[in-house]
Symmetry: C2
Subunit: 570 residues, 2 copies
């Protein structure tokens, strides 16, 4: 019994012994180093690399199937290169320009990016960098001629100072999107200064280079823009929709998992270190939280794209997509905290969760429904219908709060209050005469409770046994290091029997509070939805989304009138 | 009264009217468009751009002062470019190679990255890409000669197919670090095929290009490696330390802010959409959560770096730094959830928070101390001392839990239980005869409570008025859209006076539960610290951190013995 209590107390405030971080990696590393390159190793290596190759081919084919744009882009790249080499062959007569043809190839390879926005932004950077550096180079070269015999020194010093200033400006944080432009500037400037100086053909060098770059750019832009263009804006749009669906799945997963008392036997170390992990509950919100840098990159490209497809109008509000996604993230943090309740060592007893089963489930379902509906509306580019989208989820949250309000005694251990505390002390001291008094107290409380429609005498239920048995005993499975740590704790704190008793009660109380936390976080999630809806409305107005389908409105009006009649009936 | 209750209910489950998202942006945009380009506009434009330029210069100087590595790097870049142009001048006699000199310049500009790891990784990509493409190009060119009159067609088709396959493989997610290598491969292959075919000087083209690239690379590497090298690994190390300090500041800020009942009058919309915002409480954890992509990038470079400075040993465990940071992030999510309690509309009354003031503050302080100590240990590269670092914070958390256990009646509204509920019904019906009965009930409860050492009759305290007055009434400040939404709600739900009464009670109950949530999250934060300590220990062993200072151990032993004596006294 003492051991069990001890394990409870360790659980109460203790390590996740289940963490998969271990020291096996070191050993396997040493094994690998020790493996001498014998013949067998070589054969094994060939076999395994053949298998890896096969795997890679399978995965590559899979990638093409799941996103055919990647195949199309590769074909486009091949076409562009083919076209530019064909053009260079055609111009074979102009032998003297052959040395510049390389610039056309470089331009095609460098500028050809996956999305149109990236291509245009890189092309712009390249054009501005080349032109301004060309201009500056020409000016400086003329100046250098004035320097007479110090010409070369002048040129080298100008290269140094240009290199210094351009690099320094490039490192300035807000200049990051133009990093490529600065690089091209530097490159062009140095080339113009060096080669120009040698041949005294500044103008020719600059103009020919520019013409070939223009040729490469037009081939690159032409093929990338005209044949099945891939838009960064569309990617951003789809990413936001995907985030909505992911968070909805996570929310549902968390609420259902919590109600069905799903537990991780060992919390995967990838979750503990916030790495990608294949768990739908975790993946959904993680993807939404992690997508910031991807969104920023796509936003940076999308603003370069001309109006296209459904994204009509210049100055399309791409920023608002990121804003909506940010608001969604603000909600996702609550889902993350809900998942934290499932990951936690301290868990509310299943029986207590059951009390709020219907209400919790409804909030979960309605919340996910709102997220999916908003995601769908973003996808279909549709405005909100006149009926408040949050109506049902707010009602559900309110029902939950009301039920909590009526049954909040489930969330705390009333036994442990000063009332109960006294009784425990009595019990410990073994003086039985006062117990009668306690019994009377208890009777009164139960008498009160019996007046309500649903009485749950929780004290008679087995306390938290259900999931104790599933988990391996921490002391059994722990590493020597952990055992040592626990021993310090046990020695210091589990010294007195009475304290163990108290600790078990503390555990119970903590576990009951965990349910309160879950409920509270879920309600906060619902509260945050309004912010999301506001952000969506701003987007829908700025992006000029279409009015929702008439049929759908009618359907929702049906819900409206149904709700209204339900409310007036009450 | 009804209005106030209405506002409470709106708060209970409602929008954050304080969101700064508004539609003024659209108007200001139109204003800007309407501003015709008159003379005054032009002058204004020049003045403002002059001011912007001045600002930029100030900021640029500031940047150099705060991180002098940026100045050094810029100087290095200038030096490298100067050196390479000087070398090209020296070789002026070899006129026939002048056309290839451009490759040396390109290589320097392209390969010269901020950190050594990035430089080496890019150099490796460039070398492998150039060499393999050169080899393949030579082979294919020889093959093409066999094709006779179809030679050009063969070359163009081979360019297409190479372009297709290389681009397709490049798009494969795990190939992302080698993206640059694939690009260089493609570039070199096409150049070799096209120019080689024209001049029939395959070998010369390839070898000369390679020699110039090697020249550029050796200048770039030489200067970047030999003069004040900037290490990505060091950046990663410092980033992890910074994250520790940030989360510690956030934790302290959240706990103190909560205890001092600091509230946002208007929650900044940047927090609601998870953008960067200058709030120490928010900034600390946001930086830690956001740093994933930066860490991944630095890790990708750090593994390329040779042993240097304090990071001795090949295969230095850089991955473990990222793992520690991931575990820290897992803790930071709890701090984020704690901050969510401050952001929430539904707040616990200040009086109730005061009850747990000392315990909450102690957990906050001890938690931040642990984070700072771990951060300091990472910074100093020191192992953990034999004393359990979590000892004090776990004790503090336990004290908090014990206090919660004794006083959990503060976390719920016992009034609202079935006992209280009945009384409300009675009150509403106006039948006074039963009130005596209720009074008797209440007396009994108070009688029980009076036996404890600290009785708090919370019902006599002003309920949640303190922060009501600060906030503008939502109906007063809300936009027409929001009023409309609220009206639907009010019409449906605030219809009955009794329901308003209930709603106010629901609010009180929710606000009390909010305190439970805060406490529960804080305890979960403490529980997650063990995982962080485990990750740190793994790092400290793998990275062979030094043993802690003897003086410090003695000092900590002092704490140990003090603690031990304290515990045995108990």
């Amino acid at each position: 019994m003492a051991a069990k209590m001890g394990s409870l107390r360790e659980k109460l405030l203790s390590m996740r012994g289940g963490s998969e971080i271990n020291f096996d990696d070191i050993e396997s590393l040493e094994d690998r180093i020790n493996c001498r390159c014998s013949y067998r190793c070589l054969v094994d290596g060939i076999v395994s690399s053949w298998q890896q190759l096969q795997d890679m081919v399978t995965k590559a084919v899979e990638m093409g199937r799941s996103d055919h744009r990647k195949i199309i882009f590769s074909v486009k790249m091949g076409l562009a290169l083919m076209l530019i080499s064909f053009l260079i062959y055609l111009k074979e007569s102009l032998k003297e320009f052959s040395r510049y043809s390389v610039w056309a190839i470089i331009t095609v390879v460098v500028v050809f990016e996956f999305s149109i926005g990236a291509t245009l932004s890189k092309g712009f950077n390249r054009a501005v960098g080349t032109l301004s550096a060309g201009g500056l180079g020409l000016g400086m070269a003329h100046l250098s001629q004035l320097a007479g015999e110090w010409e070369e020194a002048f040129i080298i010093i100008s290269i140094f100072s240009t290199g210094f200033f351009v690099t320094y400006i490039k490192l300035y944080p807000t200049m990051k999107p133009y990093e490529y432009g600065f690089r091209v500037f530097l490159l062009t400037y140095v080339i113009v200064m060096v080669s120009g100086n040698r041949t005294r053909e500044f103008i020719q060098t600059a103009v020919t280079r520019f013409l070939f770059i223009a040729l490469g750019a037009s081939v690159g832009f032409g093929i990338n823009l005209l044949i099945y263009p891939i838009w960064a804006g569309e990617d951003l749009h789809n990413l936001v929709v995907k985030n909505f669906m992911g968070v909805a799945t996570s929310l549902e997963g968390c609420v259902n998992g919590y109600l069905n008392c799903i537990e991780y036997e060992r919390i995967p170390s990838k979750i503990l270190t916030y790495e990608a992990y294949d768990d739908p509950c975790y993946n959904g919100y993680r993807a939404a939280v992690q997508s910031t840098s991807q969104e920023d990159a796509l936003l940076g490209f999308a603003i370069w794209e001309p109006p296209h497809g459904p994204y009509r109008g210049f100055r399309y509000p791409w920023k608002n997509y990121v804003k909506v996604s940010g608001s969604l993230r603000h909600c996702a943090f609550m889902v993350m905290a809900l998942h934290g309740c499932i990951l936690s060592e301290i868990q509310a007893p299943p029986e207590r969760r059951q009390v709020f089963f219907n209400e919790l489930r409804r909030v979960g379902i309605e919340g996910a429904k709102v997220l999916r509906e908003l995601g769908g509306k973003v996808k279909r580019m549709e405005k909100l219908s006149p009926v408040d989208i949050l109506c049902e989820v707010q009602e559900a949250a309110e029902d939950l709060q009301n039920k909590i309000d009526r049954k909040s005694f489930i969330l705390v251990n009333s036994e442990s209050w000063e009332i109960g505390n006294r009784a425990t002390k009595v019990h410990r001291d073994g003086q039985l005469e006062d117990l009668i008094d306690f019994d009377y107290d208890e009777k009164r409380v139960l008498e009160h409770k019996s007046r309500s429609e649903a009485v749950l005498d929780l004290r008679s239920l087995p306390s938290s046994g259900a999931w104790d048995s599933e988990k391996p005993s921490p002391t059994g499975a722990a590493s020597p290091l952990q055992v040592e740590k626990q021993m310090f704790w046990s020695a210091g704190i589990s010294a007195l029997n009475g304290q163990i008793m108290e600790s078990s009660k503390t555990y119970e109380s903590a576990s009951a509070l965990s349910l309160a936390t879950f409920v509270s976080l879920l309600i906060e999630f619902v509260a945050r939805l309004q912010n999301l809806v506001d952000a969506f409305e701003e987007l829908s107005i700025k992006a000029n989304y279409k009015e929702p389908n008439i049929e759908q409105v009618e359907e929702q009006n049906g819900i409206f009138s149904r709700l209204h009649s339900k409310l007036t009936k009450q």
